[in-house]
């Protein structure tokens, strides 16, 4: 244990002995998130019961210069919520109150530990919902969604988390409480909410979040199309986007994913002999208009060789089709003990080529890659199934991951769409950004967190030489100033 005893005593004094974890076994629970390839045991874990305890915890840690990491449900997929033995994990799942729902102004104020789907359930009686719907929405928390700027299938039409956050109450890394943004509309000055959302815990801890609520679409039609090649499905996606149609969701699953889903309790009736299936939602207010749009989508799908196109309007049928998609990552657990869910974005026109390139990479490194992803956004999720205990396979998996990332960047894409950089993608950041850009990112972070105590060692690599020197000169400048 490398944390000073007086820090642990002070923390126990704040949260009570029931809500602090220091034993090796208890800390093991917090040593990984949804990505099994990283493992770090924190020095301690605290589970505060409200904003005031969070403030007091952060004050104590700031006073002693102890780094900390905020954590929600731990479903992140980039190792963002991990902390080393010198740091404290602050778990926010007990801050789970929905403080207010304001249907006439269409917003809700929640604590960060509220589970994404619980918010939508609470808003449903008002005909409203919280639009960003990550696949982990039955478990993941709004706080984590804010930190990662989470997406989801329906973000194609409705936008990602940052489009839905109005106001944030945040505990800054020195324990000060600040309010960013405004629930009433756009505040003057810089867009601090935009800066905070997706900052992966580097700027502080959000303790109260006001989100925009969106009307539940009155009419929704779901289409399920299956293709005998991945390329054809990819081309159908590109065509739909190019046609100017705007489905509310446009998802693809390949053969391996379909097989895993259909073997699970979430079997959705996807055709198991297809090379790829597309799941498309079209929504709107008017039944006729929605039907007309669905018809247009169907025409494009058939033009690109869809073998069958099934339509579902009834809620239970739609729910079943969507459950299959949303539980696909979990269902892949049937194939092997470990799974990497990768995340990258490519221009939608490049989808067919990139998918073929990924298949080549899988063959080269002899790894099991399957794809289930937000095709309409060009947001890929190549999944790699493996067994960590097989060292050789693990090395090939890591190499294949890196090759996939390079392929996406080469196609003009980015290394993450919605899962964040965390620790897993630090190594790819220099492929995307030059030293000056990284230095600017670091300088921004230090404006919020001069001591770099809040989620240290994540997102911005500190080992790139140019970045180091830039940071050093920055520090010198500070000393001079």
């Amino acid at each position: 244990m490398t944390l000073p005893k007086q820090v642990l005593q002070a923390l126990a004094g704040i949260v009570g002995s029931q809500s602090i974890r220091v034993s090796r076994t208890a800390l093991e629970t917090y040593a990984s998130d949804g990505l099994p390839t990283h493992h770090r045991r924190p020095g301690a874990v605290v589970l505060p019961d409200g904003r005031d305890q969070v403030v007091r915890i952060v004050e104590v840690l700031a006073h002693h210069g102890v780094p900390f990491v905020a954590r929600g449900a731990g479903t992140g997929l980039s190792g963002g919520a991990l902390a080393g033995p010198d740091a404290v994990v602050i778990v926010l799942t007990r801050l789970n109150r929905i403080i207010a729902i304001d249907p006439s102004n269409r917003h809700a104020t929640v604590e960060p530990g509220v589970v994404n789907v619980h918010l939508s359930e609470a808003a449903a009686p008002h005909g409203l919902h919280y639009a960003p719907d990550p696949s982990s929405q039955t478990v993941c928390t709004i706080g984590g969604n804010v930190a990662e700027n989470a997406g989801g299938p329906h973000c194609l039409k409705y936008g990602v988390t940052s489009n839905h956050i109005l106001e944030l109450e945040v505990v800054l890394p020195n324990g000060e409480v600040a309010t960013l943004g405004s629930r009433g509309g756009e505040p003057w000055g810089p867009d601090l909410v935009g800066l905070f959302v997706g900052s992966e815990g580097m700027f502080g801890i959000a303790t109260r979040i006001t989100v925009r609520l969106t009307p539940i679409p009155r009419q929704i039609q779901t289409l399920l199309a299956d293709f005998s090649s991945v390329r054809a499905a990819g081309e159908a996606v590109s065509s739909i986007i190019a046609s100017g149609l705007l489905p509310s969701a446009l998802e693809m699953l390949d053969r391996a994913c379909v097989a895993a889903v259909e073997a699970s309790i979430y079997a959705a009736g996807y055709p198991t002999d297809a090379e790829a299936v597309l799941l498309v939602d079209v929504d709107g207010r008017d039944a006729g208009a929605v039907q007309a749009e669905a018809h247009d989508v169907e025409t494009i799908l058939r033009e690109h060789g869809a073998r069958t196109v099934r339509m579902a309007t009834e809620e239970s049928q739609r729910a079943r089709l969507w459950q299959g998609r949303k539980k696909a990552f979990g269902a892949l657990g049937r194939i092997s003990p470990d799974l990497i869910v990768q995340d990258a974005v490519v221009p939608r026109s490049a989808l067919p080529d990139v998918l073929e390139r990924i298949a080549d990479i899988a063959a080269t490194y002899r790894v099991k890659v399957s794809n289930v992803f937000h095709a309409g956004d060009g947001n890929l999720h190549p999944n790699i199934n493996f067994d960590r205990r097989n060292r050789d396979e693990f090395r090939r998996v890591e190499a294949a991951s890196a090759a996939i990332m390079s392929a996406c960047i080469d196609a003009g894409g980015s290394i993450t769409g919605e899962h964040g950089v965390g620790i897993d993608k630090l190594r790819y950041m220099p492929l995307m950004f030059d030293g000056d850009t990284l230095a600017a990112m670091r300088a921004t972070r230090r404006a919020f967190d001069p001591e770099e105590l809040s989620n240290p060692g994540k997102v911005v690599p500190v080992h790139a030489c140019r970045e180091w020197s830039a940071a050093r000169s920055l520090r010198r400048a500070e000393v001079v100033a």
């Binding site: 034993s23 090796r24 076994t25 208890a26 093991e28 629970t29 039955t138 889903v261 073997a263 699970s264 309790i265 979430y266 539980k327 696909a328 990552f329 979990g330 269902a331 892949l332 657990g333 049937r334």
Partner: protein, 390 residues
């Protein structure tokens, strides 16, 4: 648990035991798991390793020992039955008060009156105990086959009226009941607590006992027992009795499954609202979800409602309510809130532990709403219909 199995965590680790012992074992995770992880048996396996280093509390050991041995169980439960009419007055919020409430809750349909007064069938709102085993009034329907009712330990000792109702309703639906005298406790509570050896002994006894009626369906009215008995095939794998145990497991059915499959005979109407709280070991462990409501659909005018969070546990969870009383009560409080939201005349759930837990919770809050086994309502409906000659 993975690290325990691989020897990376020492079974003596108190923190591991602390957290694993706080798991309800409600197996709701299994109903949600896309990967199909069978968590319940894995938890029991882990607990069987832990229990060697972390002995159970005295109270839990006494309860489990009593249930396993009919020579201890019968006199003690008879004594409990004698005290039971008084238990209601001792029921309350304290630890003892809660246990008194649990005992009081095992009583058959209570004659508190108020909730039953609106009953359209007009039997005066009071439901009296039926001492003699009734004959079928209009003769059995088409023969459905043989059924052997598993009597259980708690079910036999404190819920004899539910066992009797089970037999009556099965007969009324055309089943022939075979008696199986040498059966005993199923061992579910022992398995949940990690006492594998005791559980296996009990399992062997039941497999042998029921092998005498090889063609009968083994009908269980306790969800917890049913879940464990359906697993006997795995539990006794590799033993002499393995193949017999497999056949036994395949014959085990919850009473609601049996009646739902038979298409239950329609009874007399009961004008009341029922909150149907599904037992975890029925909905999650056995995957029986629709059957209880299908059985109650045979009672005209009965309004069935599901509480919010119906998939959540009530905190009973075997001996959990005894070994983790504080957490168990917290889990219960949430369940009661959701049940309160339904203005039900009666609550039904298909497991004795849940009946006791919910009943005690109601009594602790001064509420008189009865908590029953669903089969008791069907039985009442059949009696009103005159299917049983007095």
């Amino acid at each position: 648990m993975q690290q325990l199995a691989r020897g990376e965590i020492n079974p003596g680790d108190t923190h591991l035991a602390h957290h694993l012992n706080r798991c309800l074992g409600c197996r709701a995770c299994e109903s949600a798991c896309p990967s199909g992880v069978v968590y319940g048996p894995a938890l029991e396996e882990a607990r069987s390793v832990l229990v060697k280093k972390h002995p159970l509390s005295l109270l839990a050991r006494v309860v489990l020992a009593v249930m396993a041995d009919p020579r201890l169980r019968r006199p003690l439960l008879t004594l409990s039955r004698m005290v039971r009419p008084l238990a209601r007055f001792g029921a309350g919020k304290s630890a003892i008060g809660f246990q008194m409430g649990m005992l009081a809750a095992t009583h058959m349909i209570p004659n508190t009156g108020e909730h039953w007064a609106n009953d359209a069938t007009g039997s005066g709102g009071r439901l009296r105990r039926d001492h003699h085993e009734p004959r079928l009034a209009d003769g059995p329907r088409a023969r459905r086959g043989d059924a052997a009712v598993f009597r259980g330990c708690i079910m036999e000792g404190l819920f004899g009226h539910v066992n009797a109702a089970t037999q009556r309703t099965l007969r009324a639906n055309g089943f022939t009941i075979s008696a199986v005298p040498s059966q005993g406790c199923c061992g579910a509570l022992h398995a949940h607590a990690g006492l594998n050896e005791q559980m296996k002994q009990l399992a062997r006894r039941n497999v042998l006992a029921f092998s005498r009626v090889p063609d009968a369906i083994i009908v269980v009215n306790s969800a917890g027992c049913g879940a464990t008995m359906k697993d006997y095939g795995h539990l006794l794998a590799g033993e002499d009795l393995a193949s017999e145990a497999k056949r036994f497991a395949a014959r085990v059915k919850d009473v609601s499954e049996v009646l739902a499959a038979a298409g239950p005979r329609i009874g007399a109407p009961l004008e009341m609202t029922v909150a149907v709280d599904p037992a975890c070991h029925l909905q999650h462990a056995q995957g029986v979800v629709e059957a209880p409501q299908a059985v109650l659909a045979a009672v005209p005018r009965l309004q069935c409602r599901s509480p919010a969070d119906a998939s959540h546990c009530c905190g009973s969870a075997g001996v959990y309510s005894l070994v983790q009383p504080k957490l168990s009560r917290q889990v219960l409080a949430r369940k009661l809130e959701n049940l309160d939201a339904i203005a039900a005349d009666v609550i039904v759930t298909g497991n004795p532990g849940c009946i006791m837990q919910l009943g005690a919770g109601m009594l602790a809050r001064g509420q008189q709403r009865p908590v029953l086994h669903p089969i008791e309502l069907l039985d009442l409906s059949y009696r009103r219909a005159g299917y049983y000659a007095q």
